[in-house]
Assembly symmetry: none
Homo-oligomer: 257 residues x 2
C-alpha cells in the first residue's frame, strides 16, 4: 500500500485530498500529479466510477506513483474524513449556507496552523458531473472558493488540486520572491565600478561623444546610472572594459601616427 | 480574429503567454483554458508542431474560445516578442546565466507595475520536448522559476500557465506601491534591444573583440544578459548606440582609406 519513502518525506504532512465521485481516470491521475508537484501525497477517492486501480489514472499521473500507490478508496464521505480534524470543501461560494469561505491562500494558512498543532486537514473536491452535494458541504467546516474570471469560472479537479497544493507548498517554501542568480562571480565593488567609469568616460571624451562640455556632467551621470542598474559582476566589468578597449582601438592606433 | 468582447474586458491587459515549439494540441488547449480561467486572453504560439488551427486544442480549451480565436502564430521568438517591453522566461533556475529569477508571485507584482505604466509583458514557455533554448532565455529580462517538490519538479505547460495566470489575477485589485518608469521615457522594446545587440556585436566583431569564433555565442549571450539586467529605456538604447558609434569611429574612419 504505502510506496517507498523517498526524499518526499521532507514535505509530507499536508492536507489529504479527497475526490468524491470522480469519473475520468485521466482527471484522477492529473490530480495526483498536481499534488505531488507540490509535495502532497495522500489521496482518498470516494466511489471512483471506473473502479481502482485505473490504468488511465496511472498514465496521467506522469510518474507521481507515490500518490497513486498510497491512494485509498472509500464507500462514503464520512468514512473518508473520519480521522481528520478539519475538513474543507472546495466549491463555488454557496448561496444558502452560513459558513466561513476562504481562498486557497487562506486555507493554506489555516492548514499550516493545524499542522503546527499536529491536527490533520482534508479538502473535499467534487466529481466532474455533479460537484459536491449539500450533504458533503455540510460536513465541511470551511468552504474554499477559488477566485476566477467570472466569465469562465469552472476549474477541473486537477486545476483545483494544483492551486491548493501550490499555496500549501509556498507557505513552507523559502524561495525568495526575487533573486539574481549568481554563478562563479561576485558583484563588482566600488573600485571596479569607478575604474570602469573612468575608462569609459576617458574614451568617450577622446572620441568626441561627451560634447558639448556643459552637458558632460549630465551625460556621465546618466551613463553611470544606467550601468549601476545592471548590477554588474566583476566579470562583467572586465568584459565591458575589454569591449571599450576593443572598440576604441582603431582611433588609438591612429592617433599616435 | 478578435473574439467578441464579453465581460472579460474587465480583466484584459495581462501578460501575453508565448508557447515556443509546443507539440500536443491538448496542451495548447489546456493552456488556453488555464489562461482564461484567470482572465488572460492573449496567446502567441511559435512554430506549433501540428499547425494551426488545431482541433485538439479547441476540444481541450473547454470553451475558452476567446483565447483560441485570438491566438497568433509566429515563425520565431523575436517576432513574437517584438512589441513587448518586458519578457519573462519560465524555466528551472539556470546555472550559467546572471539574471534576475522571480517566483510567479514576484513576476505578477512586476507585471502589475508595468501595466500601471502602460507597458506590455510576456512570458515564454518552452515546448514539451526541449523546453526553452539558451537563445530564448537570453531574450528574456527575467526568469520565472516555480518552486516545486524537488523530487517531482516537472510541470506541464498548462500547469505553469495556470499558476502564472492565477498569481496575476489575484493582484488585480492592488494598486502598486511604485511605478517602474519615470515620465520622460519608456523601457526599450524587443525590436530596440535587438537593434542595439546587432549594432554592438557587429562593431565588436569588426574590432576583433568577439574572438575566437567558437567563444562568440557565449560572449554575446553574456553581453546580452548584462544589458538586459540594466532595464534599458529607449533613451538609454539611443545613448548606448551613440557611444558605440563614437567609440568605433576611429576604426571606421580609417578602414575605407
Amino acid at each position: 500500500m504505502a510506496g517507498t519513502n523517498r526524499a518526499i518525506d521532507a514535505v509530507t504532512g499536508g492536507p489529504v485530498i479527497i475526490l468524491v465521485d470522480p469519473q475520468m481516470g485521466e482527471n484522477i491521475g492529473a490530480t495526483a500529479r498536481a499534488m505531488y508537484n507540490f509535495g502532497l501525497v495522500e489521496l482518498r477517492i470516494v466511489r471512483p466510477r471506473d473502479g481502482w486501480p485505473n490504468a488511465r489514472a496511472i498514465a496521467n499521473a506522469s510518474g507521481a506513483l507515490e500518490v497513486i500507490d498510497r491512494a485509498q478508496i472509500f464507500d462514503c464521505v464520512p468514512d473518508a474524513i473520519g480521522d481528520l480534524h478539519h475538513v474543507f470543501a472546495a466549491t463555488a461560494r454557496p448561496r444558502d449556507m452560513v459558513k466561513e469561505v476562504v481562498t486557497p491562500r487562506g486555507a493554506a494558512q489555516h492548514i499550516r496552523q493545524y499542522e503546527a498543532a499536529s491536527l490533520r486537514s482534508g479538502v473535499l473536491l467534487g466529481g466532474e458531473r455533479a460537484g459536491l452535494s449539500n450533504d458533503d458541504l455540510v460536513r465541511a467546516k470551511t468552504i474554499i472558493t477559488i477566485p476566477t474570471n467570472p466569465s469562465f469560472a469552472s476549474l477541473n479537479l486537477a486545476q483545483a488540486a494544483l492551486l491548493l497544493a501550490y499555496e500549501w507548498f509556498l507557505l513552507r517554501d523559502e524561495t525568495p520572491d526575487s533573486v539574481v542568480t549568481d554563478s562563479e562571480t561576485r558583484p563588482a565593488n566600488g573600485h571596479e565600478m569607478d575604474g570602469l567609469f573612468v575608462h569609459l568616460e576617458s574614451e568617450l571624451r577622446a572620441s568626441g561623444f561627451l560634447y558639448p562640455p556643459e552637458k558632460r556632467p549630465t551625460m556621465t551621470r546618466n551613463i553611470r546610472n544606467m550601468l549601476h542598474r545592471a548590477n554588474l559582476t566583476e566579470q562583467d566589468v572586465r568584459t565591458l572594459r575589454g569591449m571599450i578597449a576593443s572598440l576604441a582601438q582603431g582611433r588609438n592606433d591612429k592617433s599616435p601616427a
